[in-house]
């Protein structure tokens, strides 16, 4: 049995149309896939194809209309601190400083204050924010805020990170740096990551496998296994080829036979 199993998942939303009548929209259609422990999977697709909806169901924030999601053999019914979600807009609590934000998930665990502070400090340093513990989120750049959110997530030692366009609001240089740092951390800590993005390069750089999604209704159109050694060079031929293949698939241009070309 695979670590994460998604079986025939569909999702409908009720929506009020312009005339004020309730209608049902079919957002995700009969999706099935499996993810192994320690894998880094990117969900790639255009805006509105249902990436966040799918991620929300994996994380237990929403229930599938049909089908099941199970993790480690257990059906997902509600959120759990074993699977932490990192949001695009960080979700930091603005009234808590960096240290207190990182400690959030540790407060209801049965550990002493000292242990909690040590853990917070450890993850703060891991994400490269040493010295900023007393700052408030509003005093940090977007990249630093997302680092805090990642540290807060890692601090509760989750098995999986669900990330919804976590670097979407960052400038390209900051984004590249964070991508590299994230990979180093999650590979070292053997986390499983499901990462939503609509940036092709980001997906090819990060993922072991890229799931290309299509919209209306949302489906997984194709799965690319990215067989490039890490650390990956964004300017290498192999990288360009994957990028082109994913691009063509995404825009439904005649598919290049990638296995043949490499």
């Amino acid at each position: 049995m695979a670590y994460i199993e998604v079986r025939n998942v569909s999702k409908d939303f009720k929506r009020r149309n312009a005339e004020g009548k309730d209608s049902t929209i079919h957002v995700l259609d009969d999706i099935s896939f499996e993810v192994e422990k320690g894998e880094f999977v990117c969900l790639l697709g255009f805006s509105g194809c249902g990436k966040s909806t799918l991620l929300n169901m994996l994380a237990g924030f929403e229930k599938p209309t049909k089908g099941t999601v199970s993790i480690d053999g257990e059906e997902v019914k509600k959120p759990s601190a074993k699977y932490i979600t990192i949001f695009q807009h960080y979700g930091l609590l603005p009234w808590r400083n960096v240290k207190k934000n990182i400690e959030l998930g540790l407060e209801n665990k049965n550990i002493s204050r000292e242990e909690r502070e040590q853990a917070a400090q450890k993850y703060l340093e891991l994400v490269g924010l040493k010295g900023l513990e007393q700052q408030f989120p509003s005093q940090l750049s977007g990249g630093q805020q997302q680092r805090v959110a990642i540290a807060r997530g890692l601090a509760v030692n989750p098995e999986i990170l669900f990330m919804d366009e976590p670097f979407g609001a960052l400038d390209p240089i900051t984004r590249n740096k964070l991508q590299g740092d994230l990979l180093t951390i999650v590979k070292e800590q053997k986390k499983t990551v499901i990462f939503v993005t609509h940036d092709i390069e980001e997906a090819v750089y990060l993922a072991d496998r890229v799931f290309v999604m299509q919209a209306n209704p949302g489906k997984i159109q194709k799965i690319y296994e990215v067989k490039i050694q890490r650390p990956r060079d964004r300017n290498s031929n192999g990288f360009s080829m994957y990028r082109a293949a994913v691009y063509n698939k995404l825009f439904s241009i005649k598919e290049a036979n990638i296995e043949y070309m490499i």
């Binding site: 994380a59 924030f61 509600k78 959120p79 759990s80 601190a81 699977y83 932490i84 979600t85 949001f87 807009h89 979700g91 609590l93 603005p94 009234w95 959030l104 998930g105 407060e107 209801n108 408030f136 989120p137 509003s138 005093q139 509760v156």
Partner: protein
């Protein structure tokens, strides 16, 4: 710095116009006192202690009434904001009671519990309670869903979520309602004291009228305005501090 100059100019122009109106107008000087007469009356009520007693009596009622309205407004606002059934059950009645001016309650309250401190406190409470209650409930409803997801993701209990996440998340809005409530509570304090009490700034106004002392009356009015101004300034600072802390500025 500019603000200070404008403030001084603002008061200077007002005083000049006042003086002018007294000189040009054909009023009985006992009924329309000039600024210097009012200053003299101010000196008088400071010296004989009535002003101090009045302020002390008013402030005590104000602090009690305002604090009760704030605590009750936030507590019940959190409750109805979080429990949708309660919100829908109470909202229609609240919306109907809210537009009734707090002073309109006065005769009813005086008949019910008699004159004294209580009616004035009840009025201040009524003036402050509804804005705080409704803003808190609305603030709870508009809390960013990401915070709620974070809370459930980290397994934070319902109670801790209400007080540790929802309350602070809604606090900038609540702080704004505290500001508004403070202003209207101060305004209604005076009207409350004019009807139901034998002490306080509102009573001093009635007393000055009864004794035909418009100079004391105006001096008291200026004190009421001055205290209101200072209170507003202080809570405005508090509100701004909250917003800065939250990164709104």
């Amino acid at each position: 710095m500019k603000t200070v100059i404008y403030t001084i100019a603002s008061f200077a122009v007002t005083l000049a116009l006042w003086e002018l109106a007294v000189l040009a107008g054909d009023f009985d000087s006992a009924l329309f006192p000039a600024p210097q007469d009012v200053a003299k009356a101010f000196g008088e009520i400071v010296a004989n202690g009535t002003l101090y007693d009045g302020i002390a009596a008013s402030m005590l009622r104000f602090v009690i009434g305002y604090l009760i309205s704030v605590v009750a407004g936030i507590a019940l606002g959190l409750l109805i904001g979080n429990v949708n059934v309660l919100f829908r059950l109470t909202n229609p009645v609240v919306q109907m009671i809210r537009p009734i001016a707090p002073v309109a309650w006065m005769p009813f309250i005086v008949l019910l519990i008699g004159i004294g401190d209580a009616p004035a406190i009840v009025i201040i409470f009524l003036a402050g309670f509804f804005p705080v209650l409704l803003t808190t409930a609305r603030g709870v409803h508009s809390v960013d869903t990401t915070y709620l997801k974070v809370a459930s993701n980290y397994g934070i209990s319902r109670l801790k979520t209400v007080f540790g996440i929802i309350l602070p998340a809604a606090f900038p809005q609540i702080a704004n309602s505290l500001h508004i409530a403070l202003g209207s509570a101060w305004i209604f304090l005076v009207s409350g004291e004019m009807v139901g009490t034998q002490s306080g700034l509102g009573y001093m106004i009635i007393d000055a009228r009864n004794n035909l002392r418009p100079d004391i009356l105006l001096a008291t009015m200026i004190v009421i305005g001055g205290i209101g101004f200072v209170l507003d300034f202080l809570i405005g600072k508090f509100e701004k501090k909250v917003l800065t802390h939250y990164g709104v500025y």
